[in-house]
């Protein structure tokens, strides 16, 4: 996994609350290979039934083409567990998400894909969105080691992140490999559980 350290890049504001993962990538594109899916990020918000771009959707407005950061509203990416909601963002260059709150599964899925979800105070997030709307294409700077977000107005906020998640992202640690390192603990747990709840163990 690619490490995430700092990111200074244009950001795109998404003003609606409760944006669900069905909006990020509609279910009908899920059974397809990953390279195909990238084209369909926000498909039904971006394109009308004839495939023509909807001018009212923020991604279709001039100035946001190079965005690598999303600044969203509360409960961003709620809904289904589809990890595609993260990979389709990452494959479109969007690697950091700033919102007052997130859908839990999306939040966890980010860390598996080298992406950084950041929770900030709702008022500050609204301010950032307003600045990005006023000046499309302006940048936000994120420093994961320092846990800071600097907005277009130059104001810097500190964000909270678990040190476990932070370390994994900074080093690009792969969680599966990390977990495999705990083999002895897992085996000990299983032996103990087998004594207490043997009925859970089937053919092995």
């Amino acid at each position: 996994m690619e490490p995430f350290t700092t990111l200074e890049a244009p950001a795109i504001p998404i003003d609606q609350p409760n944006v669900d993962t069905d909006q990020i990538i509609p279910a009908r594109f899920l059974g397809r290979p990953r390279p195909d899916q990238a084209k369909h990020l926000f498909n039904d918000l971006r394109y009308d039934a004839d495939g023509k771009p909807r001018s009212e959707f923020i991604m279709n407005r001039p100035g946001y083409e190079g965005a690598r950061i999303v600044v969203a509203e509360r409960n961003f990416a709620c809904g289904s567990s589809r990890e595609t909601a993260v990979t389709v963002m990452v494959d479109n260059g969007l690697k950091a998400f700033i919102a007052p709150s997130f859908g839990d599964i999306f939040f966890n899925n980010c860390f598996q894909n080298g992406a950084l979800p950041i929770r900030l105070d709702a008022a500050r997030v609204a301010e950032l969105r307003a600045q990005l709307r006023d000046r499309p294409g302006t940048a936000i700077a994120i420093d994961l080691a320092k846990q800071t977000v600097t907005g277009p107005d130059g104001k810097t906020d500190r964000f909270e992140i678990d040190s476990f998640r932070k370390d994994c992202l900074l080093k690009g640690v792969d969680e599966v490999n990390l977990t495999l390192g705990y083999e002895a603990d897992i085996a000990a747990f299983e032996a103990r559980q087998h004594q207490e709840m043997g009925w859970l163990d089937g053919r092995r």
Binding site: G31, E83, M197
Partner: protein
Amino acid sequence: MTSPPQTMFEKIWRRHIVVDRDDGYTLLYVDRHLMHDGSEGGYAQLRRRKLKLRRPDRGFATPDHYVLSNSGNRADIPDAQHRRLVERITENTAASGVTLFDLGDERQGIAHVVGPEQGITQPGLTLVCGDSHTSTHGALGALAFGIGTSEVAQVMATQCLWQRKPKAMRVSVDGALGDGVTAKDVILAIIAKIGAAGAVGHVIEYAGSAIRGLSIEGRLTVCNMSIEAGGKAGMVAPDDTTIAYLDGRPFAPKGAEWDKAVAFWRGVPSEEGAAFDRDVSLDAAAIVPMVTWGTSPEDALPITARIPEPSTAPDGAKKDSMERALDYMGLVPGTPLEQVAVDRVFIGSCTNSRIEDLRAAAKVAEGRKAVIPAWVVAGSGLVKKQAEAEGLDKVFRDAGFEWREQPGCSMCVGMNGDTGKPGQRIASTSNRNFVGRQGPGVRTHLVSPAMAAAAAVSGRFTDVRRLLG
């Protein structure tokens, strides 16, 4: 010294700690892993890493999302990529030794219907699935939550997950539910009250006499939609109802093991005086049949209400989002919900496709005629068989409903091609009314099975309590 009383969630969590790190992260053991036709992604990651499934005996699989509702024959699936996913679950489970309930097996169905039905879901266990509605299984007193594909691969390889402990929230519903008011109305009322982000970061324990009074089917419906309230999981304490439900199920323990298990299950509920980070309560008697009007599950109202006026929104942002939702839904503020005409009905999904749901819908359909297309899709082959043994299929057919052939997710998400047409208004017993969930431009209203049947026979939303009178 005695330790403070613990919640059910806390007890299950503690019992499953493999490693506790001092940075707040826990390596948590997973007792049961459910898989479906979307699990190919997890298997693909395993293959890429040249890893094996650690505990195939802890895995159970069934195809559901891409299964056709009119044919149990895989070869009939028209989309080659979808067909391939349904084939892959057969191949993957055969190669890895995971138990599979495949097409052609009467135990096949929606993973969240099959798990409890087979006795795979049990009190006090941790259970995961690469699907957000895994929260369903908490109805039996398990800690069950949905995970993404990378986490699926991790569970396959290690049977563990890195987790930070969520907070605990209790939602109490006390009192008696009125006639025609069901578990679906209870959970829609809860979400309307706390909001779609109301339980983010929390595990919900549903408590109170109205929850106690629900059957396991009803509790499954309530826990199913915990994710729609933003919750990580939802749970109901195991009790006599739970134990009676599990007795005799194929994957439940037997003989001396059963007695040992029951003794363990009795110790799972929250202890008297256990502290919750948040407490919410509702009066059961005040809940009436519910209908959603917008594009978030929190947009739920009693059937007796009118479409809300955006001008009454507390702030500009809320007003904007209400206007956008009403525009998508094609609704005029102030219209009584009972005057909204419906084009189509879907009875099914992991929320409401169990035998009780079908009985409740059939009771309304019996002796009446559907005036709009109405589909019934059973949650599993065994549910379908039971319904047919009770003659419910005949009741539905006589009433002009379509009794679909093959259990699965069907129109809940339309991944198998079962979608509505743009602009169509659907009364659906599923769990998500998101924009485009049942197809581009389709307008989804979430209701209970009884309310869905009432809409089918009247062509508009109708207070089912009048039809039951």
